[in-house]
C-alpha cells in the first residue's frame, strides 16, 4: 500500500498490479469469467483465462500507443451481465463462442485498464507488467478456489454470486444508456 502512493519507483508496477482489483468495473467481469471457467472445467478452465488475459494485454499495449476505443466501458458492463448470467444459469457454450466472448471482454478490460492511466503513461512497460501479473493472479486465485469448491452449497453460492454480478451489469448498462 505504501507503493501506491507513488513515491517509490515501483509505483507504476504496483498501480498496474492493483488496477484489476481497485475498480468494480474491472473486478466484476474478471470474477464472473473466472467462476464460469471453473464451472466449465478443462480445457476451457485454462483456455478462457488465457484468451481473456492475452486479449487484455494486447489491448493495453494498443491503448498505450494512443488508440482510443470509447465503447470499451459498455463492453465491460455487458461482460458483467453476460458472464454473470452464464454463471447464474450454469450455462455451457461451445468452445469457439466461449473463447470469442472472453477475447472481446478481455480487449475491453485491457483498454479501460491502460487508456488514460497516468501511471501507465509514466512507465508503460512496468505498468503493463504489473497489469499482466494482477490479471493472472486474480484469475488464478479465483479459479483455484472455485475449482476446489465441490460442495453443493458452494456451487449454488457461485451461481448466486453470478446473478449478483449480472444484476450490477444490468443496472450499469441501463445507466450508461441514459442521456
Amino acid at each position: 500500500m505504501i507503493f501506491a502512493h507513488g513515491t517509490v519507483a515501483m509505483g507504476e508496477l504496483y498501480a498496474g498490479l492493483l488496477q484489476p482489483v481497485l475498480h468494480f468495473e474491472s473486478l466484476l467481469p474478471i470474477l464472473a469469467l473466472a467462476l464460469w471457467a471453473a464451472q466449465l472445467g478443462t480445457p476451457l478452465l485454462w483456455q478462457l483465462p488465457l484468451a481473456f488475459a492475452g486479449a487484455a494485454l494486447a489491448a493495453a499495449v494498443v491503448a498505450l500507443l494512443g488508440v482510443a476505443a470509447p465503447g470499451a466501458a459498455y463492453v465491460q458492463s455487458a461482460a458483467m451481465l453476460g458472464f454473470g448470467g452464464l454463471v447464474a444459469a450454469r450455462a455451457r457454450l461451445p468452445a469457439v463462442p466461449a473463447l470469442g466472448l472472453a477475447i472481446v471482454a478481455g480487449l475491453a478490460q485491457g483498454h479501460v485498464g491502460a487508456f488514460g492511466e497516468p501511471a501507465a503513461a509514466a512507465r508503460p512497460v512496468l505498468y503493463v507488467l504489473g497489469f499482466a501479473l494482477g490479471l493472472g493472479l486474480l484469475l488464478f486465485h479465483v479459479e483455484n478456489l472455485a475449482v476446489r469448491a465441490r460442495a453443493f452449497w458452494l456451487q449454488i453460492g457461485m451461481r448466486v454470486v453470478g446473478s449478483w454480478i449480472a444484476a450490477v451489469g444490468v443496472l450499469i448498462s441501463v445507466l450508461a444508456l441514459r442521456p
Partner: protein, 196 residues
C-alpha cells in the same frame, strides 16, 4: 497450503478496503450508500428476509432458485426506475409484497417452483424500481449498485439461514409464526401508507 492460498488472496484484496483512498471519497461512500440503502428501509428488509425464509420453507429447489433469480429480476425493475418509466404505487406495492410473502409463509402455501418464482419476480420489480429511481448519476453508480445488490443478497441469505430451523422438531411451526409476524408488520406498513 489451502489456508495459505486464502490468506494470500485476502491480503491481495485488502486494498479494496482502501477504495475510498484510491478513487477519491466517491467510490467508497457510494458503495456504503448503496449497501445501506436496502438495510435502511424496514419494508425492503422484511420482504428480502421473507424471500429467503420462504425458500427455506419450500426446500429444494426453491431454496436456491429464489435467491439466484431475485437479484436479476430486481435489477430489471431497477432499470425501469433508471430509465424513468413510471411505476404507480411503488411504495404500496412494496408494502403489499411484505404482507403477501409473510402470508404465504404463515399459511404454508406450497406452489410449484415456477409459480413461487413468478410471485417473487412480480414483487422484485417494485423493489428494484424503488432503488433504481434513487440511483445516483454516473459517478459512483457501479459502487452503489454493487453495494445494494450485495446487501440485498445478504438479507436473502440471512432469511435462508434462519429458515434452517425447519430441520428442528418445532421448526416448521416457528417458521410459520415468523411469516405471520412479517405479514402483520406488512399490514402495519400498509396502514401507515394509506392513512398518510
Amino acid at each position: 497450503m489451502r489456508r495459505a492460498v486464502w490468506i494470500a488472496l485476502l491480503v491481495w484484496l485488502a486494498p479494496l478496503a482502501a477504495l475510498a483512498h484510491a478513487e477519491g471519497a466517491a467510490a467508497g461512500s457510494s458503495f456504503l450508500t448503496g449497501f445501506l440503502h436496502p438495510i435502511r428501509g424496514i419494508d425492503h428488509v422484511l420482504a428480502m428476509f421473507a424471500i429467503g425464509l420462504w425458500g427455506s420453507q419450500l426446500g429444494m429447489p426453491a431454496i436456491w432458485v429464489l435467491p439466484v433469480a431475485f437479484p436479476l429480476v430486481m435489477a430489471f425493475g431497477g432499470a425501469l426506475g433508471i430509465a424513468g418509466v413510471p411505476l404507480p404505487g411503488t411504495e404500496i406495492g412494496i408494502a403489499i409484497s411484505v404482507v403477501a410473502l409473510g402470508s404465504v409463509i404463515a399459511l404454508n402455501v406450497r406452489p410449484p417452483v415456477g409459480a413461487a418464482l413468478g410471485l417473487a419476480a412480480f414483487f422484485a420489480i417494485f423493489h428494484g424500481h424503488a432503488h433504481g429511481a434513487e440511483l445516483p448519476g454516473q459517478a459512483g453508480a457501479i459502487a452503489y449498485s454493487a453495494g445494494f445488490v450485495l446487501a440485498t443478497g445478504l438479507i436473502h441469505l440471512s432469511g435462508i439461514a434462519v429458515g434452517l430451523v425447519m430441520h428442528l422438531p418445532r421448526g416448521p411451526a416457528l417458521v410459520r409464526i415468523g411469516g405471520g409476524v412479517i405479514a402483520l408488520a406488512g399490514v402495519w406498513l400498509l396502514a401507515g401508507l394509506i392513512t398518510a
